[in-house]
Symmetry: D3
Amino acid sequence: MVYITRREQFSAAHKLFRKEWSEEKNNEVFGKCSNPNWHGHNYELFVTVKGEQNPDTSFVANLSTISVILREKVISKLDHKNINLDVDFMKGKTATTETLAVEIWKQIETPINQLGCTLHCVKIRETENNYVEYFGS
Amino acid sequence: MVYITRREQFSAAHKLFRKEWSEEKNNEVFGKCSNPNWHGHNYELFVTVKGEQNPDTSFVANLSTISVILREKVISKLDHKNINLDVDFMKGKTATTETLAVEIWKQIETPINQLGCTLHCVKIRETENNYVEYFGS
Amino acid sequence: MVYITRREQFSAAHKLFRKEWSEEKNNEVFGKCSNPNWHGHNYELFVTVKGEQNPDTSFVANLSTISVILREKVISKLDHKNINLDVDFMKGKTATTETLAVEIWKQIETPINQLGCTLHCVKIRETENNYVEYFGS
Amino acid sequence: MVYITRREQFSAAHKLFRKEWSEEKNNEVFGKCSNPNWHGHNYELFVTVKGEQNPDTSFVANLSTISVILREKVISKLDHKNINLDVDFMKGKTATTETLAVEIWKQIETPINQLGCTLHCVKIRETENNYVEYFGS
Amino acid sequence: MVYITRREQFSAAHKLFRKEWSEEKNNEVFGKCSNPNWHGHNYELFVTVKGEQNPDTSFVANLSTISVILREKVISKLDHKNINLDVDFMKGKTATTETLAVEIWKQIETPINQLGCTLHCVKIRETENNYVEYFGS
Amino acid sequence: MVYITRREQFSAAHKLFRKEWSEEKNNEVFGKCSNPNWHGHNYELFVTVKGEQNPDTSFVANLSTISVILREKVISKLDHKNINLDVDFMKGKTATTETLAVEIWKQIETPINQLGCTLHCVKIRETENNYVEYFGS
């Protein structure tokens, strides 16, 4: 069993807030992240896949193929977008990095596993100080 | 003459567009950066100051003092904000990194130079692939 | 279960030596790290916490709150300090990065877990070539 | 149990291809990585070792000793070399990062474990977007 | 006058040697970089352009356009290639980073300057310890 | 004229204080950097040299030779040392990064220039937020 990781990036706007809460309550819970006019980040996405090496190629999976999947299913939907407004799989959800990791997992689990390997981890680096990892359960 | 540099960071939303132009024209010129719903970045700001060493402290200037100026004049206005909507010194301007560097220069030139040194460069890193530098003229 | 990580930094002096040993013996075991006049590092601290997402906030825990705990319990005691001489929780201990990771774990386990999540890992990067991780047992 | 990691680096040439396959087939499977005239990378190697802290030194193991092992067994054979042509432990193998991680594990497992600790992970970063990890089985 | 910089990357093989010299002489001068079987690097290319801001766009030049030029004129010729064997503009030249910077300058000076700005600097990072910059004369 | 840069690193302890001043005055001017028990950093040193390319080697200078000079004249004196107590060329001086850059310049100017090139810049990165550059006058 070998683990391989692909890094991709996207630049997006978002805010943290709940419609059910007042602006004061949102500000109390989410602080500056609740700015009504949005803010944004350069996000780094690290997707880790595990599996046996293919005896013909010595690959667990071709990282170029994984990159194609990530770009189609995730990056094209998030890059230079508003996470709260523009992203189908984030509609109606709070745009925390935790939720983003869980929802990205759902988008890519099937196509990744169809390559004959197993999705292991979705990691997102929101800033150089803040990271989130999700392992599927 | 010695040059000293302080790095600060801010996370902000923006879009590139001109009100005078149609959405098509904006998209033609600015591409995905013109997304009407905004996108965002983790910006890194590098401010370089030059001067003689103070014979008492051996400092050109105390980088902690420069950091206080940058936080008051720049970072507090940009961090977790929308550059187009929330930032007084960017009102009515196109939110390119070039303009941001020039306008940040204007905000900090006087308070930096009052420390007895000379503002030399404002550098902004928008993504790991894109940088802008402004030297004041 | 989602894992979230907060990075903090501190710059500190230390040396590796045992009082029971001669300077020669210390030098033989710890090499240049035993320099009697100290040396120092920019340490990076990565603290990983795991838990379920709070249904109200979508957070495992607010990383700003974790940062406040880390600054109060760890960074304020280590930053711009001498690890051997100035830090209460390192008194009488050899100042290796391994011991530092274990002792930082002890300082933060209770306040982190009181947030309703579970401390998972304390990781310290001493130089760009040397890292230590501790998972609590 | 504490985990410690040492980073080393090497710059090497390689290509991905199977002698049994035509150039077209190699190009179809391995893409630009199959360029007959080679290409190359700055590889980063991260070796993680786990164990109890030695009560005399507070070390799991001296990272300087681990560095000496890595340089003798791995780096001296790979740095400024051709992975396909010059490296004894890669002879006859496809030079993917996956295979490189597995074969480096075999080179260092015995000497690392003789230090009284246990080899835990061999991680290789081939580019800033591609990583491989191997945990020994 | 504002300066803007675009970063691109390429992974390539090369060796340092002169055909006129014996293998011993090449080894004496170029050390491990003269390995006959090649070695390689992940190169980072930073291209800096200077100019006035366009009053319509606020850009000095669109960094996407500069990226297209760099990919067409430089990256497509160097990425996953052998610098000594595969690259037209390096034929018959010693493949030092100095020469690479000068020759990349020649490839891009005309198309960059046709954008209405001025090529200022070609910088190449060969490893995390070695950089070269060329300013055109 | 081409510019080449070599990066080296050292880990050292220091403090900022003047003997002529009281502890209160030192604390007022230098803040936490004046901690009597020292603190420390992982310093990065970037030395830039300029010159014409040697027609035989295509090098401005061999960066391996520059590295040997830097290690002998600078790194061996600073690495795992106390800048205030252990370093001959810093004796009696305030250990700011500005002074360190100027004094390192003096140590290496002659041996670098004897290689047939010209010392251009000494840059020191003290932390990821603080840098100093010195160009020799």
